[in-house]
Every structure is written in structure tokens, then in C-alpha cells.
């Protein structure tokens, strides 16, 4: 089961991965966007760490993350990550602990929120290209009877693979889309931060303690 403390560890791990990769995210963004993804995400997760308190439920933790990212990150990634966390929080509701099915519902609500906010489809070279395969891999692994730990690993791998696959895509959303064919050959920065998100989930939400 995932309780508030697990969710907090997930958020802290995500913040740590963003800190470690902030320069990489900004460099990826410099190639096809406006060179601020790492800077903006770092500002966001630092504010999240400051604001996180003793939220009683996983849903409440996610809500703090959502509102903080929405008010601190700006750009497109603020509303996108903010919406994803907000929908995840709503899906978690006020439950004190989440089981496998709850976690699957939470991931899928987050993905649906991203789709609505950004209007992106698969292969538009966006975060969706990492997020959707990760959610799909998680659901498939659970359906095949794998334990949650393995399902989260599958999600992590699918997110990184999805991010790798954005390199060969031409951007059709966001600022990179103005480059057209010239956006090919570069990784989408949002897909990489999404992979970091599932990386954080894999090491913190398996339900077997710290």
C-alpha cells in the first residue's frame, strides 16, 4: 500500500532527480525550445520541498505538489505537470492508502489531464510520448499478474524508451513545432523530465518501505 509518507518520498526523489538533471533539461530545451525547462522545473521542485508539510493522505501530498508547480513553474510545463498532479490528487481522493488499482487509476487520470491541457497526441514529440507508454506498461504488467514493484520498473523503462523515441520525431506542439523538420534529432525535454518522474516512482512507490 502507498501511504502519505511514500508519496512524500516519491516527490522528494523526483525533486532530487530534477536537481541532478536540471542542466541537461535546459540544454535539451536550448536545442529546440527556449532553454528554460531545467531552470523552471528546479524552481518548481524547490518550492514544493519548502511547502510540503504533514499532509495526511497521498492525495493531499499530490495536491500540494500540483498547486505549487502551477504557481511557480510557468511556461507550458507548469500547467502540464500541475494538471497531471491535480488530476492524480483527485483520483487518490481522501484515501489514506492506495492499492495497485488506485495507483493505476491515479496514473491514468494524470495522463488524461495532460492530454486535455496540452491537446497533444502520441508522436507529437511531447511529454505524452513518455507518459502514455509508462502508464500503458504499468497497467499491462499488473494485468499480467506481476507485482507492483515490477510494474513500476516496466513503467520506468517504458518512459525512458518513449523519451528516447522522441529523438526521431518532428515536433507538432509547443515552441519546437516552429522548427518543423529541424526539430528531428533532438530529444524532447518534457519527455525526459517525465521519465525522471517514473524513475522516482519506481524507487519509492513499490510499497516495500524505504
Amino acid at each position: 500500500m502507498v501511504v502519505a509518507a511514500d508519496m512524500r518520498r516519491f516527490v522528494e526523489r523526483f525533486a532530487e532527480l530534477i536537481e541532478q538533471n536540471a542542466d541537461t533539461l535546459t540544454e535539451l530545451d536550448a536545442a529546440i525550445g527556449d532553454a528554460d525547462h531545467g531552470i523552471n522545473m528546479r524552481r518548481g521542485v524547490r518550492a514544493v520541498l519548502e511547502r510540503l508539510g504533514d499532509e495526511p493522505t497521498p492525495g493531499a501530498v499530490l495536491k500540494t505538489v500540483a498547486t505549487t508547480l502551477i504557481s511557480k513553474v510557468g511556461g507550458a510545463s507548469g500547467p502540464l505537470y500541475g494538471t497531471a498532479f491535480l488530476r492524480a490528487s483527485a483520483a487518490a481522493g481522501s484515501k489514506e492508502s492506495l492499492d495497485d488499482a488506485d495507483l493505476a487509476a491515479l496514473f491514468s487520470a494524470a495522463l488524461e489531464g495532460l492530454r486535455q491541457r496540452g491537446g497533444a497526441q502520441a508522436e507529437d514529440k511531447t511529454m505524452i510520448d513518455a507518459f502514455a507508454p509508462a502508464v500503458g506498461a504499468f497497467e499491462t504488467a499488473l494485468a499480467q499478474g506481476h507485482p507492483r514493484k515490477d510494474a513500476l520498473q516496466a513503467a520506468r523503462s517504458a518512459a525512458y524508451a518513449g523519451s528516447d523515441a522522441t529523438i526521431d520525431l518532428v515536433a507538432r506542439k509547443g515552441r519546437a513545432s516552429y522548427l518543423g523538420e529541424r526539430s528531428r534529432g533532438h530529444r524532447d525535454p518534457g519527455s525526459f523530465s517525465t521519465a525522471l518522474l517514473f524513475d522516482a516512482a519506481a524507487s519509492t512507490l513499490s510499497g516495500d518501505g524505504p
Binding site: 531552470i39 513553474v73 511556461g75 507550458a76 500541475g82 491541457r117 496540452g118 522548427l179
Partner: protein, 333 residues
């Protein structure tokens, strides 16, 4: 990088402070969350006009806060969209029962942040409408991109929607005028040099000494083509023809024209450019009924210019001539 800057962190706040100090009769600065609003609230029920976007395009948007134009502007960091808290607070501040209209330039971040703010305000029962400005004809493939960028026509949308709102028109009416203006205007810009974002400290893109970028965006986004430096008249040809063609201008049409500087362009050069804009339009039998030449929507220290043409019927022309009193635009008041 040589700039008039204290610190990168305080840059936008200090500029807002300066604007409010210079025009304390017109504009008030709210620091947290950051927005600029009219110093004196308009009397009676009036649709509240809120715009905003990344900073670095001054006088857009803060310079257009005042009677006959915007009620509030939300400046983000340089070239970074503002966050929903800003538009939510500004929207709440200017809403007095008549509804709120968001004027949003078509950039992914701006659209999403304004959307979120609109959701938050609607949850409190405030009637929020949004009008997108997407006038940059340099973006040819709108289907497979984020769509046309919002550039110079934003000034016209803010002026004309502001004028009709000032007359006490309903939210439906203000929204109609804003949409009509948004659909009737087209723009295209060019760069002689790149801009330099303070936080980055180096030019956004590289242009050779004898190169220019035709169709550049107001954040230094790539345009239609990079070519060798040519004469002012030839540059204006390459901006005006796609604009006129896209607008489908016909003999006998009336237009309002803005020949705009990108930030580092001397006014004398803008007049040279405007001269040929006028020649081209009148050569096609199009009448320029009003003109604006100067820096109205800039790109930090970029050198270059943009052209915006708005097809103006009697309604839009009447709204253009209505009194306006803002830091950057003033007549009849």
C-alpha cells in the same frame, strides 16, 4: 552583455516599479502575485480586460493599462509566460460583475496558464472569456505546429476591445469585437540582429554581419528564411506581400497599419520602412486610414521591425479613434 540591470531576479519587478512610478496616475503595481492594474478603477459595470505574457516586449502589455484599453496586465519573467495566480488575482481585481476578457497571445505556455486561471475564476462564478491572438503569417504550417504566434495585432485587439469595453458594452459584445479584430489583422517581422535574454547573457540566435532573418518571432523564433541583407524597400516587400496576400486585401479596402520597432531600431529607420509600406498599399488601391510608427511590441534589444495590417471597417475605425489614455498610447483624453 551590457545592459541596464541590477540583478536578473529583480529585473522584471524593478521595471514594473519604474513604470508605476512614471505613471502613478494611470497604473498601480501589485507585487505578489505580480500584475499591473489601473490606478483608478473604472466607474460602473464594465467588462474587465486582462492581458499578459512574458516580459521583454515593452510597452506591451503594462504600457497599455489605462482608460480605453486594458484593466490589468500580468508580466511573466522575460519571455516566460506568467503563472495562473497572476491572472486569477488580476481577473478578480478587475471583475465587477460585468465579466472578464482574457486577451492571450497564441503561445503554448500563455494559453495553458490563462486557461488554468480562467478555470479557477469560473469556479467562483466569474464569467471569463478568452480571445486568442494568432496573427504571425511567418508561420505557414498551422496544422502541424502550435499555430500562428500572437504578435503585433495584440496591440490592435487591446485597443479596440478596450474602447468598446470602456463604452460599457456587454461581455458578448466585447468578445465579439476582440475576435473580429483578431481575425482582421496579420503581421510579419524581421531581425537585423538577435536579442539577448538577460538570464542567458548571450544572443538567442546568431546572424552574420550581412544576414537577416525574415519572419522572426518576438522571442527570436526562426522565421521563413535567412537571407543576405537587402535594402529597406526590399525588406518591406518581403514582409508586406505575405501579410497583404494572407489578409486577401482588395482594392478599396481600408486598413490601420503599424510599423513597429523590435527594440533597438532607430525611429528614422522605421519611417523609411513605413514609407514603402504606404507605397505598396496605395499601389494596390488600399487606403491607410490610420498609422502607428514606433516601438509597441518589442523583443528586448533586437534590431529589426515588424508590420501589422488590420482591415478596418467603420466600426473598428470608430473604436480606434475612441479616447485612450495609457502610458504608451494616448489620444482624445
Amino acid at each position: 552583455m551590457k545592459k541596464l540591470i541590477n540583478t536578473i531576479e529583480s529585473f522584471v519587478d524593478e521595471a514594473c516599479e519604474g513604470l508605476a512610478l512614471a505613471h502613478s496616475d494611470l497604473v498601480q503595481f501589485h507585487r505578489e502575485p505580480r500584475y499591473l492594474a489601473r490606478a483608478t478603477a473604472p466607474k460602473g459595470r464594465k467588462v474587465g480586460l486582462v492581458s499578459g505574457g512574458g516580459s521583454g516586449h515593452e510597452p506591451l502589455h503594462g504600457g497599455f493599462v489605462g482608460s480605453g484599453m486594458l484593466d490589468a496586465a500580468c508580466p511573466g519573467e522575460v519571455f516566460t509566460s506568467p503563472v495562473p495566480d497572476q491572472m486569477e488575482a488580476a481577473g478578480r481585481a478587475v471583475s465587477n460583475g460585468g465579466g472578464v476578457l482574457f486577451i492571450v497571445k497564441n503561445y503554448t505556455g500563455d494559453v495553458m496558464n490563462f486557461d488554468l486561471a480562467a478555470e479557477l475564476l469560473r469556479a467562483d462564478g466569474i464569467d471569463v472569456r478568452t480571445v486568442l491572438v494568432a496573427d504571425d503569417v511567418a508561420v505557414q504550417n498551422s496544422t502541424w505546429t502550435a499555430g500562428r504566434r500572437g504578435v503585433g495585432n495584440t496591440v490592435f485587439v487591446e485597443k479596440l476591445a478596450g474602447a468598446v469595453a470602456e463604452r460599457g458594452a456587454s461581455a458578448d459584445e466585447v468578445e465579439r469585437v476582440a475576435k473580429k479584430t483578431s481575425e482582421a489583422g496579420r503581421s510579419m517581422g524581421m531581425a537585423l540582429t538577435s536579442c539577448t535574454v538577460p538570464a542567458k547573457g548571450s544572443p538567442t540566435f546568431e546572424l552574420g554581419e550581412l544576414e537577416i532573418e525574415i519572419g522572426v518571432g518576438i522571442h527570436g523564433e526562426p522565421g521563413r528564411e535567412r537571407t543576405a541583407l537587402v535594402s529597406a524597400d526590399e525588406i518591406v516587400d518581403r514582409l508586406a506581400r505575405p501579410v497583404m496576400e494572407d489578409l486577401g486585401l482588395k482594392r478599396g479596402d481600408q486598413v490601420i497599419v503599424m510599423t513597429n520597432g523590435m527594440g533597438s531600431t532607430p525611429l528614422i529607420e522605421l519611417y523609411v520602412a513605413h514609407r514603402h509600406v504606404a507605397q505598396l498599399l496605395s499601389g494596390s488601391g488600399v487606403t491607410i486610414v490610420r498609422s502607428l510608427v514606433g516601438n509597441y511590441i518589442t523583443s528586448l534589444d533586437m534590431d529589426g521591425c515588424s508590420l501589422t495590417v488590420l482591415r478596418a471597417d467603420d466600426e473598428l475605425l470608430g473604436l480606434w479613434d475612441a479616447p485612450v489614455h495609457t502610458p504608451a498610447l494616448r489620444w482624445g483624453a
